[in-house]
């Protein structure tokens, strides 16, 4: 297996799409209800936790891009092989692939849960899963360019949904935010940790990197995508804090959807029933990109056709989604992925960067010795 991947020029993505892909892969179902979990830890200072988590993400992204820039055009799977050797590299890559599949499944199942709770309580999970996964499969077979194009489209379709925050803000109680910094550092840190499930998604750059045309400006574009996500999270957190009282927020599972319940237009009385189906546009890129990343990994490591692996991954996700039935099971999966994501997306890039630096220094030294002995 080659360490570096050089896709055809026609299969590559323009760099400005990087921020779109990062941003929409981060925003998924977590955004619908993260406020409660953060406020449980940090109280009305939860917005500070959001900023802290955001800064951490920016810093991690810096390290990720630094790691990738040490290779001409490698992805995570190639780096693993280079740094850890064939066997161990494949094993670690397999973990990442499983993580991608599990995350895609978590997003899918959570969204189906939202539909089942809010709109169609009778329709079985399997039916939704089949339809959504088919859509995902369809774009995956088209390749990354189709996925990226679709993602770009979804951003345009849903970005205006942010404007509806005007309605809940009409009855905002800004007092709720005071006094600032009442929670101590450990609580704010705890809140920031709980952001992990919501904020993960930027690690997709590890797999996307070889496909980007202008490798020089990847960092800036990715950071901009991150910044946009963080800004949206911050706004939603603040609005939720002033709109709900603390005890009420602690009981609200999907705070963002409850904010949408306040929207009232003369021709459209119940806006949330428009927003929930529209949310499919937000979560589809997540499912597509994560499953695509998993399929890429399988293809790179196990040398089978990407098409066949796509079928395998989709069917695997479909079957496993059927086993999650109750809210508790979903919460457990969210919890596990939140923890794994915390390690995988925030801690692991630093370790990997260290390994890459050591490996390359060691190699240079050995080459120097080899050169010397050759003389």
């Amino acid at each position: 297996m080659k360490i570096n991947v050089t896709p055809k020029e026609s299969n590559m993505l323009p760099t400005y799409l990087v921020w779109v892909l990062i941003c929409s892969n981060q925003i998924g179902v977590g955004i619908l209800g993260f406020q409660r979990i953060i406020a449980e830890k940090a109280g009305h200072d939860a917005w500070i936790s959001v900023i802290v988590a955001g800064i951490m993400a920016h810093f991690t992204m810096l390290i990720i891009v630094k790691t990738l820039k040490r290779y001409p055009s490698a992805d995570l799977y190639g780096i693993h092989i280079d740094v850890l050797g064939k066997r161990l590299g494949k094993l670690v890559s397999l973990f990442f692939i499983l993580y991608c599949i599990a995350t895609a499944m978590m997003i899918l199942r959570n969204y189906i849960e939202v539909i089942q709770t809010w709109v169609f309580p009778e329709i079985p999970t399997g039916l939704f899963a089949a339809v959504f996964l088919f859509l995902a499969l369809y774009t995956m077979l088209g390749g990354i360019r189709v996925i990226a194009g679709y993602t770009f489209l979804t951003v345009i379709v849903v970005i205006w949904l942010l404007l509806d925050l005007y309605y809940p803000l009409q009855i905002a109680e800004w007092n709720h935010l005071l006094p600032v910094m009442e929670a101590d550092i450990s609580k704010i840190w705890g809140g920031a940790m709980s952001m992990s499930l919501t904020i993960i998604g930027f690690e997709i750059i590890y797999v996307l990197y070889p496909y980007i045309k202008e490798k020089k400006s990847v960092g800036a574009s990715a950071q901009f995508g991150l910044f946009l996500t963080n800004l949206i999270y911050l706004v939603l957190m603040v609005v939720a804090l002033v709109f709900f009282s603390e005890g009420q927020l602690a009981k609200t599972i999907w705070a963002t959807l409850n904010l949408k319940k306040m929207v009232y237009l003369p021709f459209l009385e119940r806006f949330e029933f428009v927003a929930i189906p529209l949310w499919l546009f937000v979560i589809m890129p997540n499912i597509m990109l994560y499953s695509w990343a998993a399929v890429r990994g399988l293809k790179r490591n196990f040398n089978w056709s990407q098409r066949k692996f796509s079928y395998v991954v989709i069917i695997l996700m479909f079957i496993s989604s059927l086993f999650l039935i109750t809210r508790q099971q979903i919460e457990t999966l969210n919890d596990i992925i939140g923890r794994v994501g915390l390690i995988g997306s925030f801690a692991y890039p630093f370790i990997l960067y260290l390994l890459v630096v050591i490996k390359q220094a060691w190699r240079r030294k050995r080459e120097a010795i080899n050169d010397e002995s050759a003389k």
């Binding site: 169609f120 039916l127 088919f134 369809y138 935010l177 005071l178 006094p179 005890g247 009420q248 009385e269």
Partner: protein, 383 residues
């Protein structure tokens, strides 16, 4: 081989696309003609401790004389009541258009959180649902044949909505009720509705301690609550000032008191600032800046500069006195609809964990300083 492969994939795609289309038929159909959309629901306390629920459904049937259909049932839980109500209806009862929920005074005194919570928990019910307390049994109010209003649900909704937007009473949607309920430093309030002849009217504001109805204040006092709580633009207020303060001689009049001068003013904008100046027991300094125009004068007087200044002074004293009296009343009833507890929490570090009864202990001891600044900017088109 590749050709065969392609045709397989094409078939596969078509089959999946067809499947996706046909699944649209799997959702439960809700045909308008077969559903009864509840616009108002009322809850009463029956004598044996159960709850009676009454619903009103508008009927779209040209042959029927009545434009509405009413059903009621007795049960222990609101959803249980709905199931029983369904047995009396020819259409499936749905709550998506529910605008107003009424609670009988007797029931409200016992606490209504569980019936409010079930409405909030139901995703089909809007967050903008208005809750009200009624002085009479809600079943009587809903079943009463109102000649002019027809659909009493929409009528009630518009009546409350109009008065909330007209800045007469503070807004009291289900969301705001629960927000206050779940916050330790404030108590909910709802409009109090009473039947009056063939009509309904807003009698005042029903005040709650947690979820229990304690007492009520009239709409003039409700205006004062709004004055402290919210920024707002319009809203007229009738009051009377001592004639001596304006330098007017007493005047005999059968309906009015001889020593008072009557006028109505209209607030153009108001701003309130609450400062917590002492922590235990709390002391509040409330400054209200009000710019108003004179709407109506009880008798013709010439509004000179000096007279306007006198009216301003007298109005300030009058409002301060009224605010003082109202707050004494609220403290006595142990209700905090204004949310002074929230303000206390917001200005005190470490008060985050304050419990509701802890706050009420402090509330009883709280003292208030009032400063009202009135500015009369206009007096209509006449001088």
């Amino acid at each position: 081989m590749s050709l065969q492969n392609r045709s397989f994939h094409q078939t596969f795609r078509w089959v999946m696309a067809l499947l996706a289309l046909t699944t649209a038929g799997c959702a439960e159909k809700q045909i308008l003609d077969e559903t009864g959309l509840v616009t108002v629901i009322g809850y009463d306390q029956t004598e044996d401790g159960l709850i009676r629920g009454t619903i009103l459904v508008p009927v779209i049937n040209p042959e029927a004389d009545e434009k509405i259909q009413v059903a009621s049932a007795v049960g222990l839980t609101s959803k249980g009541i709905r199931d029983k109500v369904n047995l009396q209806m020819d259409k499936r009862v749905l709550g998506g258009q529910l605008r107003v929920a009424l609670y009988d005074e007797k029931l409200a005194r016992k606490g209504i959180i569980s019936i409010v919570d079930t409405l909030y928990r139901d995703p089909t019910i809007a967050s903008r649902l208005y809750l009200c307390v009624t002085t009479e049994e809600t079943s009587k109010i809903i079943t009463f044949p109102y000649k002019e209003e027809g659909n009493i649900g929409m009528y009630l909704y518009r009546m409350i909505d109009q008065n909330v937007h007209g800045e007469k009473i503070p807004s009291s949607t289900i969301h705001e009720f629960l927000r206050s309920y779940f916050s330790a430093g404030s108590d909910p309030f709802l409009p109090l509705i009473e039947p009056k002849g063939d009509e309904l009217r807003i009698k005042g504001l029903a005040l709650f301690h947690k979820d229990k109805y304690i007492g009520w204040i009239d709409t003039n006092e409700a205006f004062l609550i709004k004055l402290i709580r919210d920024f707002f633009e319009a809203g007229s207020y009738e009051t009377s000032l001592p004639r001596s303060a304006l330098g007017l001689p007493n005047k005999k009049n059968s309906a009015r008191r001889a020593d008072r001068f009557y006028l109505v003013f209209d607030t153009l904008s108001s701003q309130s600032k609450v400062k917590v100046t002492r922590k235990s027991p709390p002391n509040y300094e409330v400054t209200i800046k009000l710019s108003a125009r004179i709407y109506e004068l009880g008798e013709p007087i010439s509004l000179t500069k000096e007279m306007l200044a006198k009216i301003e002074k007298a109005l300030e004293a009058d409002l301060e006195q009224k605010l003082k009296n109202m707050l004494k009343k609220l403290q006595k009833l142990e209700v905090d609809p204004i949310g002074f507890g929230e303000m206390y929490r917001a200005s005190t570090r470490g008060a985050r964990q304050m419990k509701h009864d802890e706050w009420h202990n402090l509330y009883k001891q709280s003292t208030f300083q009032w400063k009202v600044k009135v500015k009369l900017v206009r007096s209509g088109i006449m001088e």
